[in-house]
């Protein structure tokens, strides 16, 4: 049904064959159009198989074992770390910490670096478009140490320009500037390198939430020059249960450990403990071993497809969706113009609730997300409770965008008020 031509470099038809779930039919027996990629991506067979193979052939706990299986698992786990390091262009594997996800990674920074370095009156600067994962840990830190959390707003075009960032940095003199490289609701891609330099010049430490960047662009932590960068495995075609905390080595070295337990120690006595060196210092307990192996397979897959190709294809789809949405009567795109965005488009439809939109689209086989997308402060600022969000990835097609657009233009008809009356007040209620 879905033709898979692409004016970009990708052979999307071939790519789709690698993703078993893309071949299923939706509940309504239409082909599935999966446009919920900003929430989580799907996996190619190679990722699923890499994990199965570990469980079937060479699994054991890592690090402390010297039997053959344990050496094999340890080596695979550490190879995964090396693969992540080169995916991010990190200068050392010591800088790559495996965490449970983006959220866990940000909490690690907040509890370890934050508790150590922030106090009464200090400011943490965020964008209003931050995901809750990059807000709540800072609110919690503020409760603990008495610092403040400040936000940079978006303008009427949903954008944040350099001047807004510069003036916020001047005004608040923040100790930390923590921002998402791309907004998971607005779709905006921010200039990470430039803003990092501006923040450093203002004396701030910089954390980049790359949850919506890692899947889409080539990361280069040495070029970006930030202090912390985090992302999640499940958004880069990897498994759930794993994410990455990258930190500047000298900074990670200076920080106290966060979670305590096996693996992160050098010695433990009845009186206290000493911490292990990096990266183990921040990896307490049995790590997500098989998930790391799955993440490595995902990175290998993405690298094979090519991050530049991925980004170009997404932009193409995103631009088409953006243009199409803007043409539909009653639809308002919540986000800047296409040139500022990747593959994410959020929107509202006059008089129809986002969840009803999502439910209707699901009936057409199109999976989009509805709600606040874990960006309540942004939604509040914009004055809407919920939006619908269509987010594409490199395995989506131009034809899928068109199916989606057709479905959106059918939504209003479905829910248009037709002057219905409850026919009889008690016809059902007393039955």
């Amino acid at each position: 049904m879905i033709v898979t031509t692409s004016p970009t470099n990708l052979d999307v038809a071939k790519i789709r064959e690698d993703f078993p779930i893309l071949g299923i039919r939706s509940a309504s027996d239409r082909p599935l159009v999966y446009f919920d990629n900003a929430a989580s991506t799907q996996r190619p067979t190679s990722v699923i198989e890499a994990m199965s193979r570990c469980y079937r052939e060479y699994y054991s706990n890592v690090h402390r074992g010297i039997h053959t299986l344990s050496e094999a698992s340890t080596q695979a786990y550490e190879n995964a770390r090396a693969t992540v390091a080169s995916f991010m262009n990190a200068s050392s594997t010591n800088e790559v910490i495996f965490a449970a996800g983006t959220t866990a990674a940000i909490n690690t920074v907040s509890r370890s670096w934050g508790d150590q370095n922030l106090s009464q009156g200090d400011v943490i600067l965020l964008l209003i478009s931050e995901h809750h994962a990059n807000i709540v840990p800072w609110h919690q830190l503020a409760e603990r140490v008495g610092c403040r959390v400040e936000f940079i707003s978006v303008d009427e075009e949903f954008l944040i320009d350099d001047e807004a960032v510069a003036s916020a940095l001047r005004m608040h003199q923040p100790k930390l500037f923590a921002f998402g490289a791309a907004s998971n609701t607005l779709g905006t891609e921010y200039p990470v390198k430039r803003w990092t330099r501006m923040a450093h010049d203002a004396g701030a430490t910089v954390l980049i939430d790359a949850a919506q960047a890692a899947p889409h662009w080539k990361m280069d932590v040495q070029d970006w020059d930030a202090d912390f960068i985090v992302f999640s495995g499940h958004k880069v075609c990897g498994p759930t249960g794993i994410g990455v905390l990258w930190g500047r080595e000298s900074l990670l070295d200076s920080m106290p450990p966060f979670l305590g337990g096996g693996g992160m120690i050098q010695t433990v006595t009845t009186d206290g403990f000493t911490a292990h060196a990096l990266p183990e210092k921040f990896e307490a307990g049995t790590p997500p071993i098989v998930e790391a192996i799955g993440l490595e397979a995902a990175i290998d897959y993405l690298t094979d497809v090519g991050m530049d190709n991925i980004h170009a294809h997404e932009r193409l789809l995103g631009t088409r969706a953006d243009a199409g949405l803007r043409e539909i009567n009653g639809v308002r795109v919540i986000g800047p113009t296409a040139e500022h965005k990747g593959g994410i488009n959020s929107f509202v439809i006059d008089g129809v609730h986002a969840h009803d939109v999502s439910q209707f689209l699901d009936g057409q086989g199109v999976a989009v997300r509805a709600g606040h997308h874990c960006t309540m402060p942004l939604h509040h600022a914009i004055g809407v409770t919920a939006t619908s969000r269509a987010s594409c990835y490199f395995y989506n097609t131009v034809e899928e965008v068109d199916v989606f657009l057709q479905a959106v233009s059918d939504v209003r008809d479905r829910f248009a008020k037709t002057g219905r009356r409850r026919r009889s007040r008690s016809s059902r209620s007393n039955s």
């Binding site: 609730h353 969840h355 439910q359 209707f360 009936g363 409770t385 409850r422 026919r423 059902r428 209620s429």
Partner: protein, 144 residues
């Protein structure tokens, strides 16, 4: 999986377009507001309990999806005239049944939003409790 066509059946859309007692009751004795953390939608229910312990009048206000609005209308209509005990005895299952079309777990939360808030409203007399409008009712997360 319930189908989109089944959910938005005519009876549901009727209640959505022409809700029963949508608004706020000025003479209310009880009030409660709550939200659905999945979407952020809020509903306020205002009640007047009469001396015999009956729901003399009930109104709802707020914004939300078709399901939350239609189900609130159905609930309010059904509960008026019932005793407090009868309202308390009205279960989540009965609410889902009253609504009609079968719902997936996340949409059940939409359907049960007003039901939860009504249960809390019974315990929220106006005036005695300063923060009766805070979202302090039972959370929908408890449903699962």
């Amino acid at each position: 999986m319930p189908n989109e066509q089944d959910i938005y059946e005519e009876h549901v859309l009727d209640h959505y377009e022409d809700p029963y007692h949508r608004g706020t009751l000025d003479t209310a004795s009880h009030m409660h507001e709550g939200n659905n953390p999945l979407c952020g939608d809020r509903i306020v229910i205002t009640l007047k309990l009469d001396d015999s312990g009956k729901v003399a009048e009930a109104w709802f206000e707020g914004e939300g999806c078709v399901i939350s609005q239609a189900s609130a209308s159905m609930l309010i209509e059904r509960m008026e005239g019932k005793t407090i005990e009868e309202v308390k005895a009205f279960t989540a299952e009965e609410m889902l049944e009253l609504f009609g079309p079968k719902l997936t777990p996340n949409r059940q939360k939409c359907c049960l939003l007003s039901w939860k808030i009504l249960q809390s409203a019974l315990h929220s007399p106006i005036g005695e409790d300063g923060d009766s409008s805070a979202p302090s009712g039972p959370s929908l997360g408890e449903e699962q």
